[in-house]
Amino acid sequence: MALTATIPARVLVTKIGLDGHDRGSRIVAAYLRDAGMEVIYTEPWQKIESVVALALQEDVDVIGISSLATDHLLVPKLMKALDGAGLGHIRVIVGGIVPDDEEAVLLKSGVSRVFHPGADRADIVDVVARLARDAGANRPDG
């Protein structure tokens, strides 16, 4: 259709728990914005329930959690909460300081991908764009 532009992916970039390192999440938010995506950015210290409410109201395709302490260990709880709220189509990624054994736990809980310090901008953008398409294809309401 010539008269309709493509629909930008919508991504929530946030942090849960007590970890206040926000440089990574700010940078990633800017990467995604500059790749043409619509980013809902929050301050750190979100509760799991808040992330669910934000994702629901903003109808995002992807949630990116930045974690430089140990708060990513809460992410499996987030995955359950999203499912419980009927938001199982949303793809979740984590970035920051995540040891290998914990990465395995996250992936097992349904996280799509874990990024580490030095993660490449193009890689992040590609993965988020692909996951946004996946989420769109799996929506319960179409």
Binding site: A2, A35, D59
Partner: protein, 321 residues
């Protein structure tokens, strides 16, 4: 991304029941102008007219989002359910946006009585998302008592907001250089309420007085526009703001139904035409458009004549790009 909808009537029904997930989804469909959007907009028509739509506009940084946050708290105290549409500009280059208004409204995230949605302007010329009016309607149909529309004041967007909102609140703040001068141009005409926020700042009183003086110079036959001082952080003056909004809303509701407001639909259509034409001109690879562009470059065609030819081309050959 082409998202097809399996069950639009069901989605509309859930929205009318007030289900947040259905409202969220319907907003995306309408915002993206998908084929399902028109079905949803038709389904909600009988359910419109309950909400009061309040527009908050003003230059960046005057405290619109912070004031919206405080105003939400006041509305909740008064037992009202609230919907917020917060519009931020998309990058004209990449189309991307960081939508940060709701950071200031975080205290309401877990309140079921508050539904906040961030919209990117998606290239709308005046800064207000073209679909903001329709999104406000969706929130109305979902049963929200008050729908707040936050937009950055960029000149044109105030005029657009005037078309959409029942009550127009124009916000300024002290110490913003010639802010008061800037406010003169056009905005006084559309404001129902003027707010000087950051009342805690040294020059607040002075700004308030300047505004009042400026209003005093106007034609006496025109309705009076209250000038209020607020401190959005310490939450003073917000009760007065809520009272003033109620007073204006009372007047407006008696007068007419919002979606029937003269010129509103025509204005939205004009906006949609402009957007369609822009997309056509920017994306078309046809000879016709290239020839018009060249004609203008070589000063054989005026811009307005070129535009006329583009519109004829849109109607005739249709879209090809």
């Amino acid at each position: 991304m082409d998202r097809t909808v399996s069950d639009t009537p069901r989605l509309a029904a859930r929205l009318i029941e007030g289900e947040p997930a259905a409202l969220a989804r319907a907003i995306s469909l309408v915002e993206s102008d998908t084929p399902a959007a028109i079905d949803i907009l038709r389904a909600i028509r009988p359910h419109l007219g309950h909400a009061v739509v309040v527009g908050f506009t003003g230059p960046p940084g005057v405290g619109k989002s912070t004031l919206v946050n405080t105003y939400i708290a006041e509305l909740r105290k008064r037992g009202k359910s609230v919907g917020v549409v917060a519009v931020d500009p998309s990058s004209p280059i990449t189309g991307g946006a960081v939508l940060g208004d709701r950071i200031r409204m975080a205290e309401h995230t877990l309140d079921q009585g508050v539904f906040i949605r961030s919209l990117a302007s998606r290239g709308a010329l005046g800064g207000l998302s073209a679909s903001a009016a329709q999104v406000a309607d969706l929130m109305d149909a979902a049963g929200r008592d008050v729908v707040i529309l936050e937009t950055v004041g960029t000149g044109q967007s105030e005029v657009e907001m005037a078309m959409i909102a029942d009550v127009r609140v124009v916000i300024s703040a002290p110490g913003m250089g010639d802010d008061v001068q800037a406010i003169k141009a056009g905005i006084l005409e559309i404001a129902d309420i003027l707010v000087v926020n950051k009342a805690d700042q040294p020059l607040a009183l002075q700004t308030c007085q300047q505004l009042k003086a400026m209003l005093g110079l106007r034609d006496l036959t025109r309705r009076s526009v209250p000038v209020l001082c607020t401190d959005a952080i310490n939450r003073t003056g917000v009760g007065d703001l809520a009272d003033a909004v109620e007073a204006v809303a009372g007047r407006v509701k008696q007068r007419e139904n919002r979606s029937a407001v003269a010129g509103r639909t025509r204005h939205l259509l004009a906006q949609a035409v402009a957007k369609a034409a822009e997309t056509h001109v920017m994306q078309s690879r046809t000879q016709t458009i290239a020839a018009i562009v060249q004609g203008i470059q070589e000063a054989r065609l005026s811009l307005s004549e070129g535009a006329r030819q583009v519109l004829n081309n849109l109607g005739g050959e249709g879209h090809d790009g």
